[in-house]
Structures are given as C-alpha cells and as structure tokens.
Symmetry: C2
Subunit: 399 residues, 2 copies
C-alpha cells in the first residue's frame, strides 16, 4: 500500500473537516484496508458533478486499496432527512425509493470501481428493528445536542416545525456505522453533524469511533452559487460526453482548478506540476482540455471522450453554431414580450445583468447570427439562436 | 344512568383541569358508558392515599356506570417517564416491572370495582410495533411542542440532559388512547401535557379526541407538602386499618375537608350537609371519624374499621401510649448526639421547629412519659417513647 503520509495527502485533498486527523493517521499506519462508509439517501436520482465530488473521494480511497461501503439509506429515506433544508420533507413510498436507488447505483458506478464496492442498504437491519430497540438507541443522545445541528437550531429559533421523527434520522444513521463497523465515514460538509453521531453510537456499542471526513460543495459552471439542477449551472452525470466536455471547456480558469482539486483523479504531484506550468505561461486551455477529457472519459469512455473533443475543436475553430444546441423553452402568453437579458439571466447563460451588458459592449452576444448592441424583446411563438462569447450556445423558444 | 348534570358534578369534584367541558357534556348526554382510560407506570408499588385520589375518581366513574380501563404501562416503563422529575430515570428490567404491576393491581383493587375494570397493558400493542411504525408516530408531533412540557422546558433551559427517548414516551402514551378508543383519560395534574398528546394522536388516527380530566396532588398529614413516602407524611394503602384510622384522626379540621373532597365516595349533597353541620356547631371530630371509618373500611373491611375505631377511642380516652407505636429508626455514630427537635422535624412528627417550640411551651411533648421543657439530646443505642399533643405517638430508636 501507498505510504500513510502520501495516502493522507490524497485523502484530505480538497476536504473540509477531518475528525480526528490523529486517529486517521493511526488507522493508515496499521496498513490494513479501511472500511469506508458513505451513505446515500435515494431521493435525488438526477445526479450531477456536485455529487461526483464525494464519489471521486470514494474512488480515490478505492484506488488506495480501501474497502468502500456504498450504503443506500432506503430505510432512512422513509423518514426523510431535512439536512440543510428548512421544510419537513414529504415521505416517499418504498417503490419509488427502490427505483431511485437503482437509478442512483447505475449512475454512481460510472465513477466508482464496482469490484471494490460493498453495496448495502440500511433496511437490512432497520426493517427488523423493533420500536423498543429504537427507543433504546434514542437513549444515547440528548435533545440539546440534537438541537445544536445548525438547521434544527435555526428552524427551532424561527419557530418552524421540526417533527420528532426527524431527530431519529441521525440516530439511525449513526447506528448504521455500528452495524457496518466503519473506520471512516465520508459525506458532504452539510452532513458533518450526522456523521459525528456515528462516533457517539459506536462508542456506546464498544467500538472505536469512526473518523469523519467531509467534502465541500462544488461551485456551478458560472457565478458563485453551488452547482445544482435548479440553478441550471450544472453538468449531469447522465449527460452526453460532448456536453460534459463542452461545459467543462466553458468554465473560467479559476473554476477549472476548483474542479481539478475536487473531481480529477490525477495525483497531487501531477496537479502541482500542471499549476506550475500554467503559472509559467502554458496555455490554460490545454489544462482545461485534459480535465474535460478525463471527466468525459470517466463518465462515458475514452472513445466518446475523443469524439467529444474533436467535435468541440471543430465547432470552436469554425465558430459554428452547433447542430443541437441547448434548448431553453420559455412559457409566455400570446401577447407577452420578454427582454432577452432577463431570459439569459434566468437560464444562467449570463451570471448577471452586468455580465450581459459587458458581453454586449464587447460585441459578444449574437442573436440569429447577428451581433446586438442593445437589449432585444423576445416574442411568443418565436425562436432565437443565441451565442454568448465563443462557447455558449442556446436555442431559446418562447411557446 | 344518573342525569348528565349530576354526573358532571361528581366527575369534576376536586378536579383541576378539564379539556373540554363542552365535549364531556356531549358525551354524557349520549347516555352510553364512557371508556375511561387511566395509565399507570408500574414503578411505584408502594402506594399511598396520594395515589388513591385518582383511584377514587375512577371508582366514582365506575359507580356512575362507566367502563374504566386500568392501563399498566409495562412497555412505557421500560422507557422511563421523567414527568416532574429533573433527572433521567434509570431503566427497569422487565421482571421487576411485572412484579411491580402485580403489587400495583393487588393494592388498587382495594378501591376499584374489579368487575367493572378492564385491565390492560400497553405491551399488548407496543411489543409488536416496529421501529418504522414508531418513526411514523413521531411524525405527528413537533419538537417545539414537546419542549413546551414544563419539566422538559426547565431542564432544557437549565442545560440538564433530556434523552431523545424521553420524547417518545408521551407519543406512545398518546397512541395507547388510539388503541383503546378512549372517551376520557384521567391523570394527576402533572400528567396534563402527556394526556393532551392523546388528543393529538387520536385526531391523527381519525378518532374523536378524548376528554382530559386531572386530579390534584393530595397534601400530607401535616404541613403544606404533598403526601409522599419520603416526606413521611403519608398513609400507605397497605397499612393496617387501625393505622389508617388513627392517622386520619390526627389531621387538622381543614385538612379533613381536603381529604373528604378527594378521597370520600359520599356524594356532593351529603358532603355539603356535613360541612353545614360542622359550620353550625357539630363536632368536627364526628365528621373526621366518619371519614377515617370510610377509608379504613374501603381499604380493609367494615369489621376491621370497627375494631380500629374502638382501639382508637380507647387509646384516646385513656391517653394510653399505644402498644405498637410508629417506630423511627435513626442511624447514628456510637458517640454522636442528636437533638430531639431535629429528629422530630426530620420524621415529620412536627411540621417545623416553631411548632416544636410551641408544643413544648404548651407542655405538649412527652418523652418516656415526662413532659419536657427544653430540647433534649438523644444518644446512640437508646430508645425514646415520644408523645406529641394528644394523638401523635412514636418510638425513636438510635442505632
């Protein structure tokens, strides 16, 4: 196995919290494969690169020889965890959860090594748990401590309802770590609290407490918001290779390094060299191409990544309007008129109105092939081919 | 059946809270036997008259023709309810709970009509409940609402730990009402919050919410504290008839009316007449004798009540020191000296030091037959026969 110090560098790259570093070093020094738990609530089958940050960290651990447990919280999903959300999540019926779980795993194995993944569901032990056993679990944690969780605390202070069953979710999640005898649990930084509950539960059951490592939120393609489907600034894991490639090529140089750190499997030495080369004058476009190629290849295959690259280069060189651009459909009343700037801002094709004005001033916005010098009014029933800068293309349809 | 208005008078006599009076009147007007739930946590097998307040209310309802359900919370007892207590109650193992339950019922049927009592245990439905079902129950109640319960609130504010499992107790108790399809639930006033949870649960399960009626705490034989074993101001339900009789005879006239209201089965018309007679000059001792006789008779039988009365009268007339006085055993070091006043105060034979001084000034305290004029020092290994006033006798043993 790789030396502990080197492993630690890879494992902690881009991470936010590590509890406790000392314990993790001790575990790595034992030279045995660690049991790495990552829990997923099968409620969001539309996965994007934001989710891939965690999957990538799991893959790094697999590549280092550790045992990854992909835990589907099919039981806990029936409870609903409101982490980071301010409203009580509606319950999902079991058939839907099972279908989501299937979609989830289909997508996640684009990134994970299936051979080195233990796929588990917490219904395995939770379905047979009695009410009495759950009550005994609930003895091990206090109300005050639970109310320290940031979202619970703010909801409590703002007098928004928290159902008592929501307090049971972190306990069940913690108990999962007991059942799986985990050495380390990974999760998004918004899960930090829940992950530490596992430590408390394991201690109660006489086990060594797991280490906890969290990953940050991935920023979207443009702007300072996190990547999310609703913000439209995302790359879906199920998107075609050429879309993935082109979208990565559209991000800023700064955003590129953020993605490298959190999404690339190249090691720290290679990454450091790349940064230095670019700092010393190498074309950042080449670094971006390497990342776009890596991601398109990992999410599809090398052949498709090559094709995506070729298509992009051709489009870029000829500044051709793509045959199949992103379609943005706007619902409008028959006599309604909508400013283009508003549509582009809404669709996240520009990050802000000021970007829109700047791009326009630089002759960077084309509508149906012509540069525009002032905002235009879009009408119901019409279509507009939009090009912003060199790489952003879209077809806007008002229907 | 008795007219609704008359029933309402009997049912509410001496009660504290009634939710909702209007609903109860409607129920009584239907003229059907009500399903009356009273839950008991089988953790206090040493019952005293304080507990009998509730039993008496149950008996009154039985006498009015209603169906009383005596629910033993053998499942909830494994959770532990900290109502009115400031520390987390330790769990009790099931065999102990079962034994307590047996002792409980043996004592309670001195007051209840066994033929008209449905004896149930909530383990009947709770033992087979799954963790998933409990979680679904926990959806129906919010953390904020639970923290409104007085003892939870004060513990939370004082940063004393509340285990999450304590939040599950009121929910299970409320679910009991659903399973039993109750029309009304009775409980001590400290249980008000828990009883109202039953209303919420019943509504969730499409039932009419139960009415809630609470009974007050019974004051002790002397002083202003509630009756309790630890305060030594109590009459145990298992005490001999003559002790019960004599202890009732020792209370003040004012306390006598308090006991009448909460413990006697005589109806309101009879009670009003008794009050008027005493107000018009009848000897309160005769009213006290009637109450002492009623309680000794109900807790034992009429024959024993007669014997108790005879013995008391003989003792009282001759001011004889009883053959078998209350024994108070004080643990003392061999060379330790303890003031009599302190022992009497501790043992609740006097309500306060000032009562001690007043009684002594009136030549009302005898030690081994002699009046004392100043506090005396008691010594290890010795015994003291104490008489305070006309009716309080005790043997103090320092060992």
């Amino acid at each position: 196995m790789t030396r502990p110090a080197e492993q630690l560098e890879t494992i902690t790259r881009g991470s936010v919290d590590l509890i406790e570093r000392k314990e993790l070093i001790q575990l790595l020094e034992q030279g045995k494969p660690l049991r790495v738990k990552v829990g997923f609530d099968p409620t969001a089958p539309d996965l994007h690169l934001g989710h891939a940050v965690l999957f990538t960290k799991m893959r790094q651990l697999q590549n280092l020889g550790h045992q990854v447990i992909f835990l589907i919280g099919d039981f806990t999903a029936t409870i609903g965890d409101p982490s980071g959300k301010t409203t009580t999540r509606p319950q999902i019926d079991s058939p839907e959860i099972q279908a989501n779980a299937a979609t989830y795993t289909a997508q996640v194995f684009k990134i994970l090594d299936r051979e080195r993944t233990e796929l588990r569901r917490n219904s395995e032990w939770m379905n047979s748990m009695s009410a009495a056993e759950l009550i005994k679990l609930a003895q091990h944690y206090t109300v005050a401590r639970m109310l320290e969780r940031r979202d619970f605390n703010s909801r409590y202070l703002q007098q928004q309802p928290i159902s008592i069953h929501e307090f049971l979710y972190p306990l069940v999640q913690g108990y999962d770590s007991v059942m799986l005898k985990c050495d380390i649990e990974l999760g998004g930084t918004d899960q930090l609290f829940n992950l530490t509950v596992g430590r408390v539960m394991q201690k109660q059951f006489g086990q060594n407490p797991q280490c906890v490592l969290t990953t940050p939120l991935l920023l979207g393609l443009r702007g300072e918001d996190k990547m999310s489907k609703s913000a439209g600034n995302y790359i879906g894991l199920a998107e075609p290779a050429e879309t993935i490639y082109a979208k990565i090529m559209s991000v800023s140089d700064e955003r590129m390094w953020h993605y490298y750190e959190l999404l690339s499997l190249i090691d720290n030495t290679q990454l450091d060299k790349l940064r230095k080369d670019v700092a010393n004058g190498a074309n950042p476009r080449d670094a971006k191409d390497a990342l776009a190629f890596e991601l398109a290849g990992r999410l599809h295959d090398e052949k498709k990544a090559h094709a995506a690259r070729e298509k992009f280069v051709a489009t870029f060189r000829r500044r051709e309007f793509p045959a199949d651009p992103e379609k943005i459909i706007i619902t409008a009343q028959p006599n309604e008129k909508i400013n283009l700037s508003m549509i582009l801002k809404q669709a996240n094709l520009v990050a802000s109105y000021s970007e829109y004005r700047r791009m326009m001033a630089q002759n960077g916005i084309r509508v149906n092939g012509s540069k525009i010098a002032e905002d235009i009014v879009c009408r119901h029933g019409e279509e507009y081919l939009i090009q912003i800068g060199k790489r952003r293309f879209a077809k806007i349809i008002l229907s």
